[in-house]
């Protein structure tokens, strides 16, 4: 199992969609690496979380935007953005408007697209939470968001 697919193992959005995103070619009865969309999806999700983390903690880094619910807003903006993008990506594949149209042998519906959007949004939120835990100590104004940091220089 290659690295990027590992993050999408949980079968909550449909086995067929997993196959499709991993590059299943029905004619070859195998996965085609060139059609594997997971690296792109993972990178976009991961880098979006990194970007949101950097913006929240180190660029905006605002003393009036450092409460718990401000952090929740940042997380929600990220998750919603990723949800919209992920769902849109799958819907485009379903309608054939993308470079990776769905193989007719796979049964993928709009519901699967919705669930994949939710899945990827949760994954982005987990990334954001992870960075919030490990990387906020250098933030001047938000170091105690969402909860008090264990590292205290004062």
């Amino acid at each position: 199992m290659e690295f990027f697919s590992l993050f999408y193992q949980l079968n909550v959005y449909g086995q067929d969609l997993f196959y499709h995103l991993k590059g299943w070619d029905n004619g070859m009865q195998d996965f085609v690496a060139a059609n594997n969309q997971f690296p792109t999806i993972w990178l976009v999700t991961f880098l979006s979380a990194v970007a949101m983390f950097v913006v929240f903690y180190y660029i905006l880094n605002h003393p009036r935007f450092n409460k718990f619910w401000h952090w929740l807003i940042a997380l929600a903006v990220l998750a919603i953005g990723i949800f919209i993008w992920s769902r849109g990506l799958v819907l485009a594949d379903i309608t054939g408007a993308s470079m990776h149209p769905v193989d007719p042998s796979l049964n993928i519906s709009a519901d699967n697209a919705m669930m994949f959007g939710v899945y990827n949004a949760v994954l982005s939120a987990i990334f954001f939470l992870f960075f919030s835990v490990i990387g906020r100590f250098g933030s001047k104004n938000c170091k105690n968001t969402p909860w008090k940091s264990l590292i205290n220089r004062k």
Binding site: L60, H62, R64, K140, R153, K154
Partner: protein, 480 residues
């Protein structure tokens, strides 16, 4: 460590000590580590004196929780203010002046006829019938008799017992009233000549400085009052002639500072007591600066003949009604503009932002500054002192002539606070560009300060945070 004893005589003495207290609280540099104020005022209920004593007492309360070792940068409240050792009060109490007339004090009824005749030549009937409970009401001839008891007071004895080699003395008095005009020469004479003092040999050789305040206010005409400001200038002339012979003439004082204002403020006419509550005036602020100047003058510059100094502001406009920092000479500006601005920024934050922010800001959370701290006696004392500082600045600004370096009532934009001074925009780091007003203060307070003393008390950390943050802010915003 050497101490600077500051005798504040009369109402002007108290008000000048109030100005000194405010400046020292803001961290204006004093070359002596300890200032020992002694207030000499027969008017025990004078509101000006009460306010000064309150301010100094609160200063001591705040300061006792702080330490000033090398690990700390804070200079707010750095100079120690304390009463004379073994005394619990800043006041030098005069005996037998309460509920007696001057006649009773002199015991004229026990005098023989010749003495009575002499008394009647020297003092008017109004003088003799004067009740001294509110002071000498502008009559130095009364003061010169009553204040002769300096050397027998407990406070003076405690002072002379504790006086050490290297200590200095400074005397604040006005020249146009009663208490100050008579008290200054008498006190000086006592200091230099009272051989019964325990440490007289130190005292007689000590460096003594004095500021004598020339008329800078007048009072409304009131025939029922003992105070008549039309006599201020004539009394000043007489006293100056006396000083010329007996103060500077015999070099009994090492440095004498003169200050006054040709545009006098006008106050309501009160003989004294709780109604005598004059607004702070910039002349008192500059008189207080003379104390710091004296403290900073090396011993060798004070040897020999009396050094006399006058104070002026750096403007071509003689009729200037409102003085700001830019009108001050560079030496004064360098000395006071940064600390006063820093302390006011702290004041504004405490008043307008602290209550809504301390639960969320890292500076408070990391230092453990929680509700317990902000409801503590220490914080309450500091808050009250800051309120008094705001009132003092407000009074300076509304008096005539006005000293108004700050728009102290301004809430936002916060950094337009310093009159005549444009605040620079902070462009970097980026997050400080986005933060405005009190949020920018929070951002500076949240800085991870180098050489931070993690083991300091909460009180120390709180003061240290505000000192460092406001120092950096005033430097970046105003180039102070």
């Amino acid at each position: 460590m050497a101490k600077l004893y500051v005798f504040g005589i009369g109402g002007t003495g108290s008000r000048t000590l109030r100005a000194l207290t405010m400046m020292l609280a803001s961290g204006v540099e004093c070359k002596f580590d300890t200032v020992v104020p002694v207030i000499i005022d027969p008017d025990a209920s004078a509101a000006d004196m009460s306010r000064t004593v309150d301010a100094m007492t609160r200063y001591m309360e705040v300061r006792k929780s702080l330490d000033f070792n090398s690990a700390n940068e804070n200079r707010f409240f750095k100079t120690e203010i304390c009463p004379i050792q073994d005394m619990s009060t800043f006041k030098l109490t005069l005996e037998n002046t309460e509920n007696v007339t001057f006649r009773d004090y002199m015991k004229t009824n026990q005098m023989d006829a010749a003495s009575k005749a002499l008394i009647n030549m020297l003092f008017s009937q109004a003088n003799l019938d004067s009740d001294m409970v509110v002071g000498f009401k502008g009559n130095p001839n009364i003061g010169s008799v009553v204040l002769n008891q300096f050397s027998t007071s407990d406070a003076y004895k405690a002072f002379s017992n504790n006086f050490e080699e290297g200590d200095r003395i400074f005397i604040i008095s006005s020249i146009f009233g009663g208490t100050g005009a008579s008290g200054f020469p008498l006190l000086l004479k006592t200091l230099r000549n009272d051989q019964t003092s325990q440490h007289w040999n130190y005292i007689k050789n000590a460096k003594i400085g004095a500021v004598t305040v020339l008329p800078y206010f007048s009072v409304e005409q009131d025939d029922n009052s003992g105070v008549d400001s039309s006599t201020f200038y004539s009394k000043t002339k007489s006293a100056l002639a006396y000083y010329d012979r007996n103060i500077t003439g015999n070099n009994s004082v090492n440095a004498l500072y003169y200050i006054g204002d040709s545009m006098p403020a006008s106050y309501k006419n009160h003989d004294g007591g709780s109604e005598q509550r004059n607004d702070a005036h910039m002349v008192e602020l500059f008189a207080a600066l003379s104390i710091l100047k004296f403290a900073a003058t090396p011993d060798n510059e004070l040897d020999g003949k009396t050094q006399t100094y006058e104070y002026g502001i750096d403007t071509n406009d003689e009729d200037i009604k409102q003085v700001i920092f830019k009108d001050l000479g560079s030496e004064t500006r360098r000395l006071i503009q940064k600390p006063l601005s820093m302390f006011l920024l702290m004041n504004k934050y405490m008043k307008n932002a602290l209550a809504s922010q301390y639960k969320f800001q890292p500076w408070a959370k990391d230092c453990g500054l929680d509700e317990n701290f902000f409801t503590s006696q220490y914080y309450s004392d500091l808050k009250k002192f800051q309120d008094a500082y705001g009132i003092w600045l407000d009074e300076l600004g509304r008096n005539k002539r006005s000293f108004k370096p700050f728009d102290e009532k301004r809430i936002v934009p916060l950094f337009d606070l310093v009159n005549g001074q444009k605040a620079h925009k902070i462009m970097w780091p980026l997050h400080d560009l986005f933060a405005k007003n009190y949020a920018l203060m929070d951002s500076f307070l949240n800085t991870n300060w180098p050489k931070w003393n993690k083991t300091a008390s909460k009180e120390q950390k709180f003061m240290e945070l505000f000192y460092r943050a406001t120092a950096k802010l005033t430097s970046k915003k105003y180039n102070f």
